[in-house]
Symmetry: C2
Subunit: 244 residues, 2 copies
Protein backbone atom coordinates (compact mmCIF):
# COMPACT_ATOMS: atom_id res chain seq x y z
CA UNK A 1 0.00 0.00 0.00
CA UNK A 2 2.86 2.36 0.80
CA UNK A 3 4.04 1.90 -2.78
CA UNK A 4 0.86 3.39 -4.23
CA UNK A 5 0.87 6.99 -5.50
CA UNK A 6 -0.46 9.46 -2.93
CA UNK A 7 -3.07 12.19 -3.24
CA UNK A 8 -4.56 15.07 -1.27
CA UNK A 9 -7.83 16.90 -1.74
CA UNK A 10 -8.63 20.58 -1.25
CA UNK A 11 -12.32 21.39 -0.88
CA UNK A 12 -12.70 25.12 -1.51
CA UNK A 13 -15.80 26.82 -0.20
CA UNK A 14 -17.01 29.08 2.59
CA UNK A 15 -20.41 27.42 2.23
CA UNK A 16 -19.01 24.12 3.55
CA UNK A 17 -17.30 25.81 6.51
CA UNK A 18 -20.45 27.76 7.38
CA UNK A 19 -22.50 24.56 7.47
CA UNK A 20 -24.75 25.74 4.66
CA UNK A 21 -23.70 22.97 2.29
CA UNK A 22 -22.66 19.40 3.00
CA UNK A 23 -19.68 18.36 0.89
CA UNK A 24 -20.05 15.07 -0.95
CA UNK A 25 -17.06 15.29 -3.28
CA UNK A 26 -14.53 14.11 -0.69
CA UNK A 27 -16.40 10.85 -0.15
CA UNK A 28 -16.78 10.32 -3.89
CA UNK A 29 -13.11 11.04 -4.64
CA UNK A 30 -11.93 8.84 -1.76
CA UNK A 31 -13.78 5.81 -3.13
CA UNK A 32 -12.63 6.35 -6.71
CA UNK A 33 -8.98 6.82 -5.69
CA UNK A 34 -9.05 3.64 -3.59
CA UNK A 35 -10.35 1.71 -6.61
CA UNK A 36 -7.66 3.29 -8.77
CA UNK A 37 -4.84 2.38 -6.37
CA UNK A 38 -4.05 5.93 -5.28
CA UNK A 39 -3.86 6.58 -1.52
CA UNK A 40 -5.70 9.71 -0.35
CA UNK A 41 -3.57 10.81 2.61
CA UNK A 42 -5.17 14.15 3.53
CA UNK A 43 -8.09 16.41 2.72
CA UNK A 44 -8.50 20.06 3.64
CA UNK A 45 -11.57 22.26 3.55
CA UNK A 46 -10.66 25.92 3.18
CA UNK A 47 -12.43 29.21 2.49
CA UNK A 48 -12.66 31.16 -0.77
CA UNK A 49 -9.57 33.27 -0.06
CA UNK A 50 -6.83 33.72 -2.63
CA UNK A 51 -3.81 33.52 -0.32
CA UNK A 52 -5.26 30.54 1.57
CA UNK A 53 -5.70 28.66 -1.70
CA UNK A 54 -2.17 29.53 -2.84
CA UNK A 55 -0.61 28.43 0.46
CA UNK A 56 -2.64 25.21 0.67
CA UNK A 57 -1.92 24.20 -2.94
CA UNK A 58 1.80 24.81 -2.44
CA UNK A 59 1.91 22.96 0.88
CA UNK A 60 0.19 19.87 -0.53
CA UNK A 61 1.47 19.63 -4.12
CA UNK A 62 5.01 19.28 -2.80
CA UNK A 63 4.03 16.44 -0.47
CA UNK A 64 1.81 14.15 -2.57
CA UNK A 65 1.74 12.87 -6.15
CA UNK A 66 -1.65 14.40 -6.98
CA UNK A 67 -3.75 17.24 -5.58
CA UNK A 68 -7.46 17.42 -6.44
CA UNK A 69 -9.42 20.59 -5.81
CA UNK A 70 -13.20 20.94 -5.68
CA UNK A 71 -15.11 24.20 -5.90
CA UNK A 72 -14.28 27.80 -6.57
CA UNK A 73 -14.44 27.67 -10.36
CA UNK A 74 -17.25 29.44 -12.16
CA UNK A 75 -18.21 32.93 -13.22
CA UNK A 76 -18.86 34.74 -9.95
CA UNK A 77 -16.73 37.14 -7.96
CA UNK A 78 -15.96 34.57 -5.29
CA UNK A 79 -14.49 32.15 -7.77
CA UNK A 80 -10.81 32.86 -7.56
CA UNK A 81 -9.41 29.37 -7.80
CA UNK A 82 -8.05 29.53 -11.36
CA UNK A 83 -6.06 32.66 -10.51
CA UNK A 84 -4.91 31.35 -7.15
CA UNK A 85 -3.75 27.97 -8.49
CA UNK A 86 -1.92 29.72 -11.32
CA UNK A 87 -0.29 32.07 -8.79
CA UNK A 88 0.79 29.05 -6.70
CA UNK A 89 2.89 28.02 -9.72
CA UNK A 90 4.05 31.59 -10.37
CA UNK A 91 1.80 31.76 -13.44
CA UNK A 92 -1.26 33.76 -14.44
CA UNK A 93 -4.66 32.68 -15.74
CA UNK A 94 -6.17 34.26 -18.84
CA UNK A 95 -9.03 33.50 -21.19
CA UNK A 96 -7.52 30.79 -23.34
CA UNK A 97 -8.64 30.32 -26.95
CA UNK A 98 -9.44 26.62 -26.61
CA UNK A 99 -11.57 27.25 -23.53
CA UNK A 100 -13.10 30.35 -25.12
CA UNK A 101 -14.15 28.30 -28.16
CA UNK A 102 -15.80 25.65 -26.00
CA UNK A 103 -17.85 28.23 -24.13
CA UNK A 104 -18.76 30.39 -27.13
CA UNK A 105 -20.14 27.32 -28.96
CA UNK A 106 -22.05 26.31 -25.84
CA UNK A 107 -23.57 29.75 -25.25
CA UNK A 108 -24.37 30.13 -28.96
CA UNK A 109 -26.15 26.75 -28.96
CA UNK A 110 -28.31 27.95 -26.08
CA UNK A 111 -28.85 31.41 -27.51
CA UNK A 112 -27.13 32.97 -24.53
CA UNK A 113 -24.93 36.03 -24.79
CA UNK A 114 -21.22 35.44 -24.03
CA UNK A 115 -20.90 38.21 -21.47
CA UNK A 116 -17.52 38.98 -19.85
CA UNK A 117 -18.85 37.48 -16.61
CA UNK A 118 -19.72 34.23 -18.37
CA UNK A 119 -16.44 34.15 -20.26
CA UNK A 120 -14.53 34.25 -16.97
CA UNK A 121 -15.23 30.51 -16.94
CA UNK A 122 -12.71 30.27 -19.81
CA UNK A 123 -9.90 31.54 -17.59
CA UNK A 124 -7.20 28.84 -17.45
CA UNK A 125 -3.56 29.07 -16.33
CA UNK A 126 -0.84 29.01 -19.00
CA UNK A 127 0.31 25.47 -19.74
CA UNK A 128 -2.63 23.80 -18.05
CA UNK A 129 -4.35 20.78 -19.63
CA UNK A 130 -8.14 21.19 -19.86
CA UNK A 131 -10.42 18.77 -18.01
CA UNK A 132 -13.54 17.98 -20.01
CA UNK A 133 -16.89 19.00 -18.54
CA UNK A 134 -19.64 17.00 -20.28
CA UNK A 135 -22.26 18.42 -17.92
CA UNK A 136 -21.96 22.18 -18.27
CA UNK A 137 -18.96 22.66 -20.61
CA UNK A 138 -16.94 25.15 -18.51
CA UNK A 139 -13.71 23.13 -18.22
CA UNK A 140 -11.56 22.27 -15.25
CA UNK A 141 -7.80 21.96 -15.69
CA UNK A 142 -4.71 20.07 -14.61
CA UNK A 143 -1.66 22.21 -13.87
CA UNK A 144 1.35 20.08 -12.99
CA UNK A 145 0.05 17.61 -10.41
CA UNK A 146 -2.90 19.81 -9.38
CA UNK A 147 -6.30 18.90 -10.83
CA UNK A 148 -8.84 21.71 -10.52
CA UNK A 149 -12.50 20.69 -10.71
CA UNK A 150 -15.92 22.18 -10.07
CA UNK A 151 -17.79 21.93 -6.78
CA UNK A 152 -21.19 20.93 -8.12
CA UNK A 153 -21.16 17.15 -7.46
CA UNK A 154 -22.47 16.09 -10.88
CA UNK A 155 -19.79 18.20 -12.57
CA UNK A 156 -17.04 17.18 -10.15
CA UNK A 157 -17.81 13.51 -10.72
CA UNK A 158 -17.91 13.88 -14.51
CA UNK A 159 -14.58 15.75 -14.49
CA UNK A 160 -12.98 13.11 -12.28
CA UNK A 161 -13.99 10.44 -14.81
CA UNK A 162 -11.99 12.39 -17.36
CA UNK A 163 -8.93 12.82 -15.16
CA UNK A 164 -8.49 9.44 -13.48
CA UNK A 165 -7.66 7.43 -16.62
CA UNK A 166 -4.70 9.78 -17.18
CA UNK A 167 -3.21 8.97 -13.79
CA UNK A 168 -1.01 5.99 -13.06
CA UNK A 169 -2.51 4.01 -10.22
CA UNK A 170 -1.04 1.32 -8.01
CA UNK A 171 -2.61 -1.84 -6.74
CA UNK A 172 -6.24 -1.22 -5.81
CA UNK A 173 -6.72 -1.42 -2.06
CA UNK A 174 -9.36 -4.00 -1.19
CA UNK A 175 -11.04 -4.50 2.15
CA UNK A 176 -12.92 -7.12 4.12
CA UNK A 177 -15.40 -6.10 6.79
CA UNK A 178 -16.59 -8.19 9.73
CA UNK A 179 -19.70 -6.66 11.30
CA UNK A 180 -20.55 -7.79 14.82
CA UNK A 181 -22.75 -6.74 17.71
CA UNK A 182 -19.88 -6.69 20.19
CA UNK A 183 -18.30 -3.53 21.55
CA UNK A 184 -14.87 -2.38 20.41
CA UNK A 185 -13.45 -3.14 23.83
CA UNK A 186 -14.57 -6.78 23.60
CA UNK A 187 -12.47 -7.46 20.56
CA UNK A 188 -9.53 -5.07 20.85
CA UNK A 189 -7.06 -7.67 22.13
CA UNK A 190 -7.99 -10.32 19.56
CA UNK A 191 -7.82 -7.77 16.73
CA UNK A 192 -4.40 -6.62 17.90
CA UNK A 193 -3.14 -10.23 18.03
CA UNK A 194 -4.38 -11.10 14.53
CA UNK A 195 -3.12 -7.79 13.12
CA UNK A 196 0.35 -8.68 14.41
CA UNK A 197 0.27 -11.86 12.29
CA UNK A 198 -0.36 -9.90 9.07
CA UNK A 199 2.09 -6.97 8.86
CA UNK A 200 1.22 -6.43 5.16
CA UNK A 201 -2.43 -5.72 5.94
CA UNK A 202 -3.96 -2.82 7.85
CA UNK A 203 -6.64 -3.45 10.48
CA UNK A 204 -9.17 -1.01 11.85
CA UNK A 205 -12.21 -1.18 14.09
CA UNK A 206 -15.14 1.19 13.80
CA UNK A 207 -17.88 1.25 16.44
CA UNK A 208 -21.54 1.81 15.62
CA UNK A 209 -24.84 1.85 17.45
CA UNK A 210 -27.91 -0.14 16.43
CA UNK A 211 -31.16 -0.20 18.39
CA UNK A 212 -29.27 1.00 21.44
CA UNK A 213 -26.74 -1.82 21.20
CA UNK A 214 -23.06 -1.35 20.44
CA UNK A 215 -21.49 -3.02 17.47
CA UNK A 216 -18.15 -2.89 15.71
CA UNK A 217 -17.07 -3.14 12.12
CA UNK A 218 -13.67 -4.79 11.88
CA UNK A 219 -12.03 -3.82 8.61
CA UNK A 220 -8.98 -5.41 7.03
CA UNK A 221 -7.34 -3.56 4.12
CA UNK A 222 -4.69 -4.62 1.66
CA UNK A 223 -3.88 -5.25 -1.98
CA UNK A 224 -3.55 -9.08 -1.84
CA UNK A 225 -7.01 -10.68 -2.09
CA UNK A 226 -5.79 -14.13 -1.01
CA UNK A 227 -4.05 -12.73 2.03
CA UNK A 228 -7.17 -10.71 2.89
CA UNK A 229 -9.37 -13.81 2.79
CA UNK A 230 -6.86 -15.72 4.89
CA UNK A 231 -6.73 -12.94 7.51
CA UNK A 232 -10.54 -12.64 7.54
CA UNK A 233 -10.89 -16.38 8.21
CA UNK A 234 -8.23 -16.17 10.93
CA UNK A 235 -10.04 -13.25 12.57
CA UNK A 236 -13.43 -14.97 12.41
CA UNK A 237 -12.02 -18.12 13.99
CA UNK A 238 -10.26 -16.22 16.78
CA UNK A 239 -13.45 -14.29 17.58
CA UNK A 240 -15.76 -17.32 17.63
CA UNK A 241 -13.30 -19.24 19.86
CA UNK A 242 -13.34 -16.24 22.17
CA UNK A 243 -17.14 -16.06 22.17
CA UNK A 244 -17.48 -19.81 22.80
Amino acid sequence: MAANPTAAMIVIGDEILSGRTRDSNLHHLAGKLTDHGIDLVEARVIGDRRQTIIDTVNALRARVDHVFTSGGIGPTHDDITADAVAAAFGLTAGIRDDARALLEDYFASRGVEATPARMRMARVPEGAVLIDNPVSVAPGFSLGNVHVMAGVPSVFEAMLQGVLPRLTGGAPVRSRTLRMLRGEGDVAEILEAVAAEYPDLSFGSYPFQQDGRYGTNLVIRGTDEALLNQALFRLESALSEDAA
Copy 2:
Protein backbone atom coordinates in the same frame (compact mmCIF):
# COMPACT_ATOMS: atom_id res chain seq x y z
CA MET B 1 -17.53 38.58 11.34
CA ALA B 2 -13.77 38.97 11.52
CA ALA B 3 -14.15 39.78 15.22
CA ASN B 4 -15.61 36.36 16.00
CA PRO B 5 -13.42 33.67 17.58
CA THR B 6 -11.99 31.23 15.03
CA ALA B 7 -11.95 27.45 14.97
CA ALA B 8 -10.50 24.56 12.99
CA MET B 9 -11.56 20.93 12.85
CA ILE B 10 -9.43 17.81 12.56
CA VAL B 11 -11.28 14.69 11.40
CA ILE B 12 -9.10 11.71 12.28
CA GLY B 13 -9.71 8.48 10.45
CA ASP B 14 -8.31 6.32 7.69
CA GLU B 15 -11.86 5.09 7.06
CA ILE B 16 -12.88 8.54 5.80
CA LEU B 17 -9.86 8.83 3.50
CA SER B 18 -10.44 5.33 2.10
CA GLY B 19 -14.02 6.20 1.22
CA ARG B 20 -15.40 3.50 3.51
CA THR B 21 -17.17 5.99 5.78
CA ARG B 22 -18.77 9.33 4.98
CA ASP B 23 -17.97 11.93 7.63
CA SER B 24 -20.95 13.83 9.02
CA ASN B 25 -19.31 15.52 12.01
CA LEU B 26 -17.80 18.37 9.99
CA HIS B 27 -21.20 19.45 8.68
CA HIS B 28 -22.72 19.21 12.16
CA LEU B 29 -19.89 21.16 13.82
CA ALA B 30 -19.94 23.84 11.10
CA GLY B 31 -23.62 24.58 11.70
CA LYS B 32 -23.31 24.64 15.50
CA LEU B 33 -20.27 26.94 15.40
CA THR B 34 -22.02 29.36 13.04
CA ASP B 35 -24.95 29.55 15.46
CA HIS B 36 -22.54 30.07 18.35
CA GLY B 37 -20.69 32.91 16.61
CA ILE B 38 -17.44 31.03 16.09
CA ASP B 39 -15.96 31.07 12.57
CA LEU B 40 -14.78 27.69 11.31
CA VAL B 41 -11.86 28.65 9.06
CA GLU B 42 -10.42 25.26 8.13
CA ALA B 43 -11.01 21.54 8.43
CA ARG B 44 -8.54 18.74 7.80
CA VAL B 45 -9.13 15.03 7.38
CA ILE B 46 -6.04 13.02 8.32
CA GLY B 47 -5.12 9.39 8.88
CA ASP B 48 -4.70 7.52 12.16
CA ARG B 49 -0.98 8.25 12.41
CA ARG B 50 0.60 9.57 15.59
CA GLN B 51 3.06 12.03 14.05
CA THR B 52 0.46 13.33 11.59
CA ILE B 53 -1.93 14.03 14.47
CA ILE B 54 0.80 15.76 16.49
CA ASP B 55 1.88 17.95 13.57
CA THR B 56 -1.69 18.86 12.57
CA VAL B 57 -2.75 19.72 16.14
CA ASN B 58 0.32 21.92 16.59
CA ALA B 59 -0.12 23.64 13.23
CA LEU B 60 -3.77 24.51 13.89
CA ARG B 61 -3.92 25.22 17.63
CA ALA B 62 -1.43 28.05 17.17
CA ARG B 63 -3.53 29.62 14.40
CA VAL B 64 -7.12 29.49 15.67
CA ASP B 65 -8.91 30.01 18.97
CA HIS B 66 -10.33 26.49 19.14
CA VAL B 67 -9.46 23.15 17.56
CA PHE B 68 -12.06 20.36 17.53
CA THR B 69 -11.04 16.79 16.77
CA SER B 70 -13.33 13.94 15.78
CA GLY B 71 -12.43 10.27 15.88
CA GLY B 72 -9.53 8.19 17.06
CA ILE B 73 -10.59 7.80 20.67
CA GLY B 74 -11.69 4.42 21.94
CA PRO B 75 -10.19 1.13 23.03
CA THR B 76 -8.61 -0.27 19.89
CA HIS B 77 -5.03 -0.33 18.67
CA ASP B 78 -5.66 2.33 16.05
CA ASP B 79 -6.91 4.83 18.60
CA ILE B 80 -3.85 6.92 19.31
CA THR B 81 -5.39 10.35 19.54
CA ALA B 82 -5.18 10.81 23.32
CA ASP B 83 -1.46 10.05 23.29
CA ALA B 84 -0.81 12.13 20.18
CA VAL B 85 -2.69 15.20 21.43
CA ALA B 86 -0.88 14.94 24.78
CA ALA B 87 2.44 14.67 22.93
CA ALA B 88 1.58 17.77 20.88
CA PHE B 89 1.56 19.66 24.19
CA GLY B 90 4.69 17.85 25.43
CA LEU B 91 2.56 15.87 27.89
CA THR B 92 1.63 12.22 28.34
CA ALA B 93 -1.73 10.47 28.68
CA GLY B 94 -2.40 7.99 31.46
CA ILE B 95 -5.44 6.33 32.96
CA ARG B 96 -6.80 9.09 35.16
CA ASP B 97 -8.73 8.29 38.35
CA ASP B 98 -11.78 10.39 37.46
CA ALA B 99 -12.04 8.79 34.02
CA ARG B 100 -11.31 5.35 35.49
CA ALA B 101 -14.16 5.77 38.00
CA LEU B 102 -16.63 6.74 35.24
CA LEU B 103 -15.79 3.67 33.20
CA GLU B 104 -15.63 1.21 36.09
CA ASP B 105 -19.10 2.25 37.25
CA TYR B 106 -20.39 1.94 33.69
CA PHE B 107 -18.88 -1.49 33.09
CA ALA B 108 -20.06 -2.69 36.52
CA SER B 109 -23.60 -1.51 35.78
CA ARG B 110 -23.56 -3.57 32.58
CA GLY B 111 -21.88 -6.57 34.20
CA VAL B 112 -18.92 -6.18 31.84
CA GLU B 113 -15.33 -6.85 32.92
CA ALA B 114 -13.06 -3.81 33.03
CA THR B 115 -10.30 -5.31 30.89
CA PRO B 116 -7.08 -3.37 30.21
CA ALA B 117 -8.26 -2.89 26.61
CA ARG B 118 -11.54 -1.32 27.77
CA MET B 119 -9.80 0.81 30.38
CA ARG B 120 -7.67 2.38 27.66
CA MET B 121 -10.72 4.59 27.12
CA ALA B 122 -9.85 6.21 30.47
CA ARG B 123 -6.55 7.49 29.09
CA VAL B 124 -6.55 11.30 29.34
CA PRO B 125 -3.65 13.77 29.17
CA GLU B 126 -2.47 15.43 32.38
CA GLY B 127 -4.32 18.67 33.03
CA ALA B 128 -7.09 18.00 30.52
CA VAL B 129 -10.73 18.80 31.35
CA LEU B 130 -13.06 15.87 30.70
CA ILE B 131 -15.86 16.19 28.15
CA ASP B 132 -19.00 14.39 29.26
CA ASN B 133 -20.23 11.47 27.13
CA PRO B 134 -23.91 10.83 27.98
CA VAL B 135 -24.14 8.24 25.20
CA SER B 136 -21.42 5.72 25.99
CA VAL B 137 -19.60 7.22 29.01
CA ALA B 138 -15.99 7.07 27.69
CA PRO B 139 -15.13 10.77 27.99
CA GLY B 140 -13.56 13.18 25.56
CA PHE B 141 -11.32 15.95 26.83
CA SER B 142 -10.27 19.56 26.35
CA LEU B 143 -6.54 20.23 26.56
CA GLY B 144 -5.77 23.92 26.22
CA ASN B 145 -7.76 25.03 23.17
CA VAL B 146 -7.99 21.52 21.70
CA HIS B 147 -11.28 19.66 22.19
CA VAL B 148 -10.97 15.93 21.56
CA MET B 149 -14.21 14.11 20.78
CA ALA B 150 -15.37 10.72 19.50
CA GLY B 151 -16.03 9.94 15.84
CA VAL B 152 -19.37 8.16 16.24
CA PRO B 153 -21.80 10.93 15.24
CA SER B 154 -24.25 10.44 18.13
CA VAL B 155 -21.35 10.62 20.60
CA PHE B 156 -19.61 13.51 18.82
CA GLU B 157 -22.83 15.54 18.84
CA ALA B 158 -23.51 14.82 22.51
CA MET B 159 -19.95 15.80 23.47
CA LEU B 160 -20.18 19.01 21.45
CA GLN B 161 -23.32 19.96 23.39
CA GLY B 162 -21.20 19.71 26.53
CA VAL B 163 -18.31 21.75 25.16
CA LEU B 164 -19.97 24.64 23.31
CA PRO B 165 -21.53 26.33 26.36
CA ARG B 166 -18.02 26.65 27.81
CA LEU B 167 -16.78 28.60 24.81
CA THR B 168 -17.18 32.34 24.33
CA GLY B 169 -18.90 32.98 21.04
CA GLY B 170 -19.24 36.13 19.00
CA ALA B 171 -22.20 37.45 17.08
CA PRO B 172 -24.01 34.56 15.37
CA VAL B 173 -23.57 34.75 11.63
CA ARG B 174 -26.95 34.86 9.88
CA SER B 175 -27.65 34.37 6.22
CA ARG B 176 -30.27 35.11 3.59
CA THR B 177 -30.61 32.92 0.52
CA LEU B 178 -32.17 33.85 -2.81
CA ARG B 179 -32.87 30.75 -4.89
CA MET B 180 -33.39 31.30 -8.60
CA LEU B 181 -33.47 29.30 -11.82
CA ARG B 182 -30.90 31.51 -13.53
CA GLY B 183 -27.29 30.48 -14.14
CA GLU B 184 -24.43 31.95 -12.13
CA GLY B 185 -23.19 33.81 -15.18
CA ASP B 186 -26.54 35.58 -15.58
CA VAL B 187 -26.30 37.24 -12.20
CA ALA B 188 -22.57 37.60 -11.57
CA GLU B 189 -22.39 41.31 -12.47
CA ILE B 190 -25.48 42.30 -10.48
CA LEU B 191 -24.27 40.33 -7.48
CA GLU B 192 -20.88 42.00 -7.66
CA ALA B 193 -22.48 45.46 -7.84
CA VAL B 194 -24.76 44.88 -4.85
CA ALA B 195 -21.95 43.25 -2.86
CA ALA B 196 -19.89 46.41 -3.37
CA GLU B 197 -22.67 48.44 -1.67
CA TYR B 198 -22.51 46.28 1.48
CA PRO B 199 -18.87 45.88 2.56
CA ASP B 200 -19.95 44.54 5.99
CA LEU B 201 -21.75 41.56 4.44
CA SER B 202 -20.32 38.61 2.54
CA PHE B 203 -21.93 37.46 -0.70
CA GLY B 204 -21.64 34.08 -2.35
CA SER B 205 -23.29 32.32 -5.25
CA TYR B 206 -23.72 28.56 -5.46
CA PRO B 207 -24.92 26.87 -8.63
CA PHE B 208 -27.21 23.86 -8.64
CA GLN B 209 -29.00 21.71 -11.19
CA GLN B 210 -32.71 20.92 -11.11
CA ASP B 211 -34.50 18.88 -13.76
CA GLY B 212 -31.66 19.60 -16.16
CA ARG B 213 -31.94 23.35 -15.62
CA TYR B 214 -29.29 25.49 -13.99
CA GLY B 215 -30.08 27.50 -10.91
CA THR B 216 -28.14 29.56 -8.42
CA ASN B 217 -28.44 30.15 -4.70
CA LEU B 218 -27.33 33.66 -3.84
CA VAL B 219 -26.31 33.79 -0.20
CA ILE B 220 -25.72 36.90 1.89
CA ARG B 221 -24.02 36.45 5.27
CA GLY B 222 -23.53 38.81 8.18
CA THR B 223 -24.30 39.50 11.82
CA ASP B 224 -26.69 42.46 11.37
CA GLU B 225 -30.22 41.18 10.64
CA ALA B 226 -31.53 44.58 9.53
CA LEU B 227 -28.65 45.08 7.14
CA LEU B 228 -29.15 41.55 5.77
CA ASN B 229 -32.83 42.22 5.05
CA GLN B 230 -31.95 45.52 3.41
CA ALA B 231 -29.32 43.89 1.17
CA LEU B 232 -31.68 41.05 0.29
CA PHE B 233 -34.34 43.52 -0.80
CA ARG B 234 -31.77 45.48 -2.79
CA LEU B 235 -30.57 42.30 -4.53
CA GLU B 236 -34.12 41.14 -5.33
CA SER B 237 -34.96 44.53 -6.86
CA ALA B 238 -31.79 44.65 -8.94
CA LEU B 239 -32.42 41.15 -10.27
CA SER B 240 -36.06 41.71 -11.17
CA GLU B 241 -35.22 45.00 -12.92
CA ASP B 242 -32.61 43.04 -14.89
CA ALA B 243 -35.07 40.26 -15.77
CA ALA B 244 -37.76 42.76 -16.84
